[in-house]
């Protein structure tokens, strides 16, 4: 204890900094901790003792929340929907973006500059401004309330940025590998599949991870495509909790919020380095 006090006296600057870091950490984590604590209580206890932990922990809130008992918020269904939509969107996005990024980065073809310019300008377009025409377009294709509709939109909205990142990545690689493969008789598609894709694995995984988070939490496009309750994504489905009337099942609600956040936190704990690195991609090199 005395050693720590000496350290604080000797490094006042650093001590202040550590204090700031700790205070902000508490500020960031406390609401989440509270949420998890509340999720293990009965409904009455949530209202009666919002500041205390009660015993025993009521884990049954969790399966009840998963099934949507009493709340109509069927997290299990929403989870499955989100998982399906996001994973398929990511798969398509990665393939299409890598193909295009590879082409822009490797080949010099007629019109490349023009197309690239178009791509750059599309990055700035916010999907928010397109929700009206997109809705009617999807309606005309019969893709409202369909996963396919949302998948198409998710792929499109993330394409320009992803292509840009991949293209930049490909231009940093010498083409000897592919040249030798071509001499040996490999087709262009072959060089893409066997050489380019493995090389780009790092960039691809970062793009996948960053876009995963964006797609998972997205609500604006989700609410204009998926209107029926049973096809909704998780982020949208959670809103069902704020529309409760009468007797609110607080315990279930907090359990639901916990179910929605814990997988993301686990994902984050595993990939946080990639996520943080990917966040700065392209905007600051």
């Amino acid at each position: 204890m005395q050693r720590r006090r000496n350290w604080i006296a000797e490094h006042p600057g650093q001590a202040c900094v550590v204090l700031l870091l700790i205070i902000w950490s508490i500020n960031q984590l406390l609401p989440l901790m509270w949420m998890y604590a509340m999720s293990l209580k009965t409904d009455i206890d949530v209202v009666r003792y919002p500041l205390k932990l009660t015993w025993p922990p009521h884990f049954e809130n969790y399966p009840a929340a998963w099934n949507g008992e009493d709340t109509g918020v069927t997290l299990g269904v929403y989870f499955r929907n989100s998982a399906l939509i996001v994973s398929i969107s990511l798969l398509i996005l990665v393939i299409v973006a890598t193909l295009a990024g590879y082409a822009f980065g490797r080949f010099d073809f007629f019109g490349r500059r023009a197309l690239f310019f178009v791509l750059l300008s599309l990055i700035a377009v916010p999907m928010h401004a397109l929700i009206v025409p997109l809705y009617h377009e999807l309606k005309a294709f019969g893709l409202i309330n369909s996963f396919v509709g949302l998948i198409l939109l998710y792929v499109t909205s993330n394409l320009p940025f992803s292509i840009l990142v991949l293209q930049a990545y490909f231009t940093t690689f010498p083409s000897e590998l592919e040249d030798s493969a071509l001499i040996d008789g490999c087709t262009r598609l072959g060089t893409f599949w066997y050489i380019a894709m493995p090389i780009a694995k790092g960039a691809v995984s970062t793009i996948a991870i960053v876009n995963f988070i964006g797609m998972w939490n997205e609500i604006l496009l989700a609410i204009i495509v998926l209107w029926e309750n049973k096809v909704r994504t998780l982020a949208v489905g959670l809103l069902g909790y704020s529309a409760q009337y009468g007797i609110i099942r607080w315990g279930l609600m907090f359990a639901g919020l916990s179910i929605a956040t814990i997988p993301l936190i686990v994902f984050y704990l595993i990939f946080h380095r990639n996520i943080i690195k990917g966040a700065t991609l392209g905007s600051y090199r």
Binding site: Q14, V17, L21, W24, S25, N27, Q28, L29, P31, L32, W34, M35, V46, P50, L51, V96, L99, A100, A103, R106, F107, L115, L119, L120, I123, A124, V125, P126, H128, A129, L130, I131, V132, P133, L134, Y135, H136, L152, T156, L159, I213, N217, I219, L220, I223, L234, A235, V236, L239, S242, L257, A260, T261, Y268, L269, I275, I276, T280, S283, Y284
Partner: protein, 311 residues
């Protein structure tokens, strides 16, 4: 595969020769970019033009469209609710961007000192950024509950009362701003921290030798050197903040009354609640123009900033 040069080649046949040559050599490139551009044309370019076109019509989605020219724009520019939404959006953008950049800078500087375990702190500070806004919004809604929320109960212990912050038109935008700042302060922090990492340590060492204090070092060395990135991330943050929708949709739906109305939500409402797709498209056009202006500035700044940084 030798190419024979034609004796009398003029500009146009030269163009066609290049095209054919390019196709033979790199035709596959077109196939590679094709799927991407199919997506982009179908779901970005076409809706963009369609939306622009639609803003000149009156339409409820069911009956036939009625051409009204620029009347939709006149309608929204004379609608006090539109200006209210615009005002709220601008206010929200300014307040949250300034706060987030300032906070992000301080946090990045704190991390930059690399005290023991700074990586843990960095991870904690970015965590809330990736959580769904819907969950966070509902959580804070219950925290701020004036009757049974933990904040209210804590204040009661001190004999104070918690007003209904989200139900008070004077406070609601401030509360939403606060929650947004709470959630996203880590976002600019990451960028600014990355920028700080690029500063050569010799500068700090020299300053320390000269007896310059930590704070002065921060102000006179760190801050100027990361200025390009600072400006860039401020613009990026401005663009994001301007498109605010999720937090309003989750917590207040524009209420109470119109107190927390923002531009994107106004657009959504006009279209999908009132079924006035014409005015909605006009609003979308306004939103688009504003965002594009900032985006153009951002890209330009990014290029300038990159050049400046690579001295």
């Amino acid at each position: 595969m030798s190419e024979t040069k034609t004796v009398n080649s003029n500009a146009s046949s030269d163009w066609r020769l290049r095209l054919r040559r390019g196709w033979r050599r790199n035709g596959v490139a077109y196939l590679f970019v094709l799927p991407a551009f199919v997506f982009l044309v179908l779901f970005m370019a076409y809706p963009l033009l369609d939306g622009l076109w639609l803003s000149l019509f009156k339409w409820d989605g069911l009956s036939t469209r009625q051409y009204v020219g620029l009347e939709n724009f006149l309608v929204i520019f004379q609608d006090p609710k539109f200006y209210n939404a615009l005002k709220n959006t601008v206010l929200f953008t300014v307040v949250t961007t300034v706060a987030k950049i300032a906070l992000g800078f301080l946090l990045a500087a704190a991390l930059h000192m690399e005290v023991r375990g700074w990586r843990v702190f960095r991870a904690i500070f970015y965590l809330n950024v990736i959580l769904p806004m819907t969950a966070i919004g509902i959580l804070w809604g219950t925290i701020l509950n004036p009757n049974s929320g933990p904040l209210a109960v804590t204040l009661e212990l001190f004999g104070a009362e918690l007003p209904s912050l989200l139900g008070d038109s004077r406070w609601v935008m401030w509360v939403l701003s606060g929650i947004d700042i709470w959630k996203y302060a880590g976002f600019p922090m990451i960028f600014l921290y990355a920028a700080m990492e690029g500063i050569p340590t010799e500068l700090y060492e020299a300053a320390a030798l000269d007896g310059v204090s930590q704070v002065k070092r921060l102000w006179y060395i760190t801050l100027p050197l990361i200025k390009p990135v600072l400006v860039t991330i401020t613009m990026l943050q401005t663009i994001f903040s301007f498109k605010v929708f999720d937090i309003v949709f989750t917590m207040t739906k524009g209420g109470p009354g119109e107190a927390s109305q923002v531009l994107t939500y106004y657009l959504y409402n006009e279209g999908f609640w009132f079924l006035r797709f014409g005015t909605a498209s006009a609003t979308a056009f306004v939103l688009l123009v504003i965002v594009l202006i900032f985006s153009y500035l951002y890209i330009r700044q990014g290029r300038i900033g990159q050049q400046e940084f690579e001295y």
